[in-house]
Amino acid sequence: MFDDLKRICLEACVLMAFGALFGLTLNHRLVMDAFSGRLVPPQRPVLEENAPLTLPVPVLIEEVQQVLSSGGLVVDARSPELFAMGHIDGAVSLPIDEFDSALPQFLDHVPRDRIIITYCSGFGCPDSFDLGVRLIGSGYLDVRVFEGGYPEWRDAGLPVAGEGL
């Protein structure tokens, strides 16, 4: 009975190993890109397909550089502390938690038709997306979101500002 269970466990492990190996073989490029920081941002599933205008458009790191150099605004959704430690060079801080109090000033300084790209701490972090949705709700016409966020930017060796750790 116990031997039986041991054999079943072993066979289950072999089964899992085969499955994992098969998947890794098919997707090795994606996994290697992910671990080396050369990431393709996963498309956040758009749940409301009939309302595309209310959602920010995901963009790749190259587009962030283009928009930055052509007069667009990059907005950091993270906390002021994280912003102070390090942020994309040229970005302004608009923490999602302080959105309501900081919005009037933001509206005064940033014209509605300026291109805005939001970011936060990478794919695990929903704040940049939420901030984008709120900015669209506040009247901004072209809001995009850089889902790779600060980690991808920093790991790509692009210019950052801040006092460091």
Binding site: G19, G23, L30, P126
Partner: protein, 156 residues
């Protein structure tokens, strides 16, 4: 009741096979989107989401195929059972942290959303089915081997 057991066993086995073959196949179509779903759980570090996304669907699929073919059924049941338990732990942590995310269980392309609570109930049902299938499979194996020895003895 005894006569019903093989019927029940095959029913449970086939339901589980279909669920996991479908779950695996649908996620294989778009591994990157599935990685986004895994990332939404906010459990794993940055790149590990991709590692999970590029292995898990294939394990699900393979285990489902084994169940479908009625081969190595208990190892396959153990595999899907272990995965279901891991999913449940992840879903409970999502509920505790109050995250509002799609479970990403079946449909990486969007479509209708399944909340963590619903997904958790579904996983409980799956786990019950897995345990039932395991128990019946064990009984059938025991019965078969029992009959085998009796036959050997009668031949002597």
């Amino acid at each position: 009741m005894i006569r019903m057991q093989p019927v029940l066993y095959h029913l449970a086995r086939l339901i589980l096979a279909m669920v996991f073959v479908y779950a695996g196949a649908v996620k294989m179509q778009d591994v990157v989107a599935f990685a986004g779903h895994v990332a939404a759980y906010q459990i794993l570090p940055y790149a590990a989401n991709y590692l999970v996304a590029s292995t898990l669907p294939y394990v699900e699929f393979l285990a489902g195929v084994m169940l479908l073919l009625n081969l190595r059924v208990r190892p396959a049941l153990m595999t899907v059972g272990a995965m279901t338990v891991v999913f449940m732990v992840a879903l409970v942590s999502v509920l505790l942290r109050g995250l509002e995310i799609d479970c990403g269980c079946f449909n990486p392309g969007g479509g209708q959303e399944t909340t963590a609570g619903v997904a958790l109930l579904r996983d409980i049902a799956l786990l019950v089915l897995i345990i039932v299938a395991w128990w019946l499979r064990s009984r059938i194996t025991a019965l078969d081997s029992g009959r085998g020895t009796r036959n050997v003895e009668s031949h002597r």
